[in-house]
Every structure is written in C-alpha cells, then in structure tokens.
Amino acid sequence: MTVPAPRASTSQFDTNELVINMGPQHPSTHGVLRVVLRLDGERVLDADCVIGYIHRGVEKLCENRDWTHIILLTDRMDYVAAATNNLGYVEAVEKLMQIEVPRRARYIRTILAELQRIASHCLWLGTHAMDIGALTVLLYAFREREFVLDLFEEFCGARLTYNSMRVGGLPLDIPPGWDRKLRSFCDLMEGKLDDYETLLTNNRIWLKRTRDVGVISGEEAIGLGLCGPPLRGSGVSRDLRKDEPNAAYEEFDFDIPLGTRGDTYDRYLIRMEEFRQSIRIIRQGLDGLPEGPVMGKVPRLLKPPAGETYHAIESPKGELGYFLVSDGKSTNPYRFRVRPPSFCNLQGLKRLVRGHLVADVVALIGTIDIVLGEVDR
C-alpha cells in the first residue's frame, strides 16, 4: 500500500495552508491512525487517513489455520469487542456447515454480545468524552467497563481476548451465580448511565462541541457505506439485530434508537440509548434463559463442504461481516475476508471533517468509534 503524500501543491505556494500530521503518535487518534490534515488556520480543508500501522495480516493468517483456531485470531481484530467478533465468525461457520446451535447457547451468546456492547460503548464514551476534554467521564466509564471484564473473566478466564465461543455452541456453560452478578451489574449500570448523562447530555459545552458537528445526511451515509451508530444517527433504520436477526435476537424485545440530525450529538444519544437497550436485552435473556446443553452436535474435525458464505452481525460499531470460502478438502478456509465496521466508518471521516476545526477532528474520530486493530487487521 502506498502512503498518500500530503497534497501540498508546490507550484503555487499558499501561505495560508498548513499541512500537519495528526498521528500516528497522537493522543486522540485512538491507536495508530495517522490523519494528514490540510489546514487553513484552524479550519480543515482536507484530511487523508493513513492506515496500516498495525496490519498483521489476520485474514491471511486465518487461511492457514484450522477452522477452530481462527476464533482466537478474531479476538485480535476488534480487541475491545472480542466476543462479538467470535460470535460473527462462529455463526458464519455454522451457516456454512449448517450446524444447529442449542437454544441455551444462543441465549448466552446474545447476552455475551450485549455485555460486550456495553464494554465497547464504555470505551467509546470514555475516550470520546476525553477527546472533548471531559476527563472524568473516561475514568467513570472505565470503572464500569471493569465490571464487564470481571464478568467475562469469570465466564471464560480472559479479560480482553476471550476466545469465548466455539463452532456449534459455547465451550462452557455460565458459572454458578454468574447470572446473579450480571443482574446486579445491570442495576448498577443503569444508575451509572444516569451519572454520565448528568455530566454530559445537557452540558452546554458538550452540546456546543457536538451539536451540528459532522452532520451527514442519511443518503450520504449510505453512499459512504457507513454502518452502525453513525448510520442510525442520520435516521437510517438499519440494525442487523432486527433486520437479519442472528443468535437469539428475534426472541427479544428491544428498540433501535434513531437520530434525526445526523450530527455528533445524535450519535452520542444513540449510543447512550443502546446502553439501555443492551441492559434490557440482557435482562430478558437472563429471565428466559432456557435449560439444556450449550454445545450442539459438531464433528471432531471441522471440514465444511465446498462453498462460500457471508454472514454479518451487528457489532457495537456496526455491520461486522465474515466472508468464508471453503474448498471442502482442507481443514482451513480457502479464503477468509472480514468486513470490519470501523474500516468502513473511517471512510466517512474525510467527508465529516471537511470545513470543521482541528478540535472537531478529534471529536469526529471519537464519534465514529474506530478500533485500529479492526481497521488494519
């Protein structure tokens, strides 16, 4: 991949233009994103995203791994939402092999995915607020995220890269007493959400910094291929949990919050509401958790029949899709391709920042909620 050079025209030197590199070592580009900004004073004329600083070739690696071993590689893409990545992958393989997953496993998967959404949104909220200058929210959000990590640790022994699902079900049932802890976490989280909103939602400075910043219409958002909260913020009702339900989502009752203006504040409100909807789903899941096994009938050696499949789920950041091709002969995929939501949403950045100020750039990077591990893979 070639690194696009900053497009400063040498022929006609304009003293008003300043080209600066934001990143890859910048505190608020959320990892190693590099944004080349062309500025007129503080106004952004153009921005180019340079990615690839943590490209590890996950897709290629996966093509040389066993179908089961791939699960732990998916952890390393969106590392703040590893369980969701696991879920998307195992469901894609199940679709390819037409494996029936027990209902209890599907319920627990849903609960885990929503728990993961809360953790991921906590990280988004904290960093987004910190980029805009509200330091305390970061610490608060991380404090609550810690509870989620503890719950995951108790469930699967890991805190970040869970490897928490298997093709055909789950490796383990939930430990005894886990559901009670999860319930008390849900109660706690609801109170904390009110705390966050007290600090931000009606804060005049927060409103000034996010209202009408990075406005994008629904049509344009679709045109750019945005997904997840940035798309819904523009009023487009597209959530794969409702539109193409996976796991056990069709059995749950929840709402999809939609924005009206398509600005940063709407996207903020949507994610705050998604916290609450996630809690609602978790509670329903715990109430209706069926008895039974957590692992379906799966052959010892996974060898899907020749064919290809695309399976997408709604990750905290948007549409996470897996495209798998099996040749039917080997025990590893012939082709493995991910459609990462962060990568597709990052395309919108160039459009969003144009005409805004430097300070808005960090707010907008925050609002599209990227994880570089997923962008670069």
């Binding site: 509200a134 330091l135 305390t136 931000l200 400075i205 910094r209 300070a359």
Partner: protein, 332 residues
Amino acid sequence: MLDTVVIPLLKIAVLVNAVLVAVTFLVLMERKVIAWAQSRLGPMRVGPYGILQALADPIKLILKEDITPVKADRYVFTLAPIMSLVPALVVFAVVPFGPDPLYYIGDINVGLLFIISVTSIGVYGIILGGWASNSKYPLLASLRASAQLISYEIAVTMTLVSVILTTGTLSLVGIVEAQRESGIWFGFIQPVALVLVFIGGLAETNRAPFDLPEAETELTGGFHTEYSGMRFALFFLAEYANMIVISAVVVLIFFGGWLRPFPNIAWLGFLDLLPAWIWFVGKVFLFLYVFIWIRATLPRYRYDQLMSLGWKVLIPVAIGNLVVTGVFKVVF
C-alpha cells in the same frame, strides 16, 4: 538601609520560595482532588498518602534531560519559559497577605493595574515558546494562546474598571480596607463582575474548560510540546503561579482579602483569632479548589466558541456592568 533594602529583599526571598512551594503542593492538590473526583486515589507511593510527591515531582523534572530541538531558535527557546515565569512571580510584589506592611512587599497606588499589566507580559512566554520550538503543533497552540489571552484580558480589565468605580482606589490594600469600611464583601455588591473575572481568569490561566493552548487531546502537548526537564517545569510553575495570582485577585477584590467573613458583625469577632494571612491563604486555596473542580467536571470549549464567548458575551456584559455601576454611582 535595613528598612529599605534588607527587609524587602528578605520578604522577596520568603515570598518567592513560598509561592514556589505552594505551587508544588498545588500540583499535588490538583492530582489528589481530580483523583478523588474520578474515584481514584491519586499519588500514594511517595510518603504518607503521597504527600512527598510534591517534592518528588520537582526533583524528577530537574534531573531530566533538557532537550533543545536542533531546529529551534536557541536563545528564544531558552528565554520563553523564563519570560513566562518571571511575570507570574513579580505580580506577588503587590499582593497583600494582611493589613500590616509586614505582609506585603509594596502597596503601590496602582496595584491592580500593576497586576493586570504584568500578567499581560506573561503571554510572551507562551507565544515565543511555541514559535521558537519551530514545530507545527506548538505554533498552533501558541497562536491560540495569544489570541485567547488578549481577548480575555480585555474582558477582565473592563470588568475590573467597574470594581474600581465602587472602590475608588487602585491600591489592593485600599480595596480591602474599603470592604472593611462598607462591611460587605464586594462579591455581593458586584456579583456579575465576580463571575466575569472568574471566567476570564480561567481563560487567562489556560485552565479547563478554556485549556485550549495545551489541549493535549488536540494539540498533543500544546505550546510546550518540545520542552522537557526544567524548562518545561518553568512553564508548569508559571501556569500554577498564575492560578494562584488569579485566585488572589478574586479574593482580594471580591472576597475581602484577609478579612474574616462578615467583618461588620461584632459578635463574630472570635473569627479574628485566626491570623489575617491564614484567612487570605485559606480563601485563595478555596478558589484554587474550584479551579480544579471545574477541570474535573467540564469538557473543553472549541477555539471559535471560546473567542465568541469572550467577544460576544463577556465583553458586552462587562461594558454593561460598567455602565450600570456608573449609573448607580451617580444616582446613589
């Protein structure tokens, strides 16, 4: 000789040291208060409850390598931190800590103006620091800083004029004495001015929510990105010394300086058991606490919003306040 040279010099030495020590503890206080606001503990390792962190921080900064970027303007790069710290310390020459001449270095009849003018020199440190680094982020930050300082200085100065109208003197001792005579702190007579000066003070000291010049999430480290070691420490000292200055000015003008609460109520006289300077320092630290509290709570303004707040809100309100004060002064 003793009264004109030795004692003032001794006072200066004591005061400068006191301010610098106060700054180190202010940094510790900020870290602790913000930590508590964020449900953390803050520094806990150095000494009991981390109290000796106030010593460890300066020692660390002194021992750190002092780097001058190759492309920097060497002289200006060295001069900038000095130019930012010296005015912040000079201002204390006219700050009275108590009614007795022992508690201040000089009570000049233009004390308030002296503070305003000397703090306006402090902006050079920031501008030159950013420029001399010869680096883009510091330059952007120093431009922001200078624009911000100049704009808010106008608002603050304009507001202080209306205060001067009520006091009739520019001497800081005189202003406090006027509050003793009227028996009421000027903060209650001039609440609008109090708010304006406080907001302006936040902006002038580059504190949250106006900490744009050093907004590290936007401009990495702000104007002192390229500084390290003791030179960075000088900027740091200057910022916190300026915070103390602004708090001291607010306390002197609006909260009765060294006066106890309700100086006109006789039966509260037992409050005078505490020496005057303790009242003063206590009030100053109360305001410093508010500074820190605000930093822990609020997000940051954007540059254009900051400027429009300064020019379109603060300055008109300050002028309005001035007019209203003048009318009151004439009518009553």
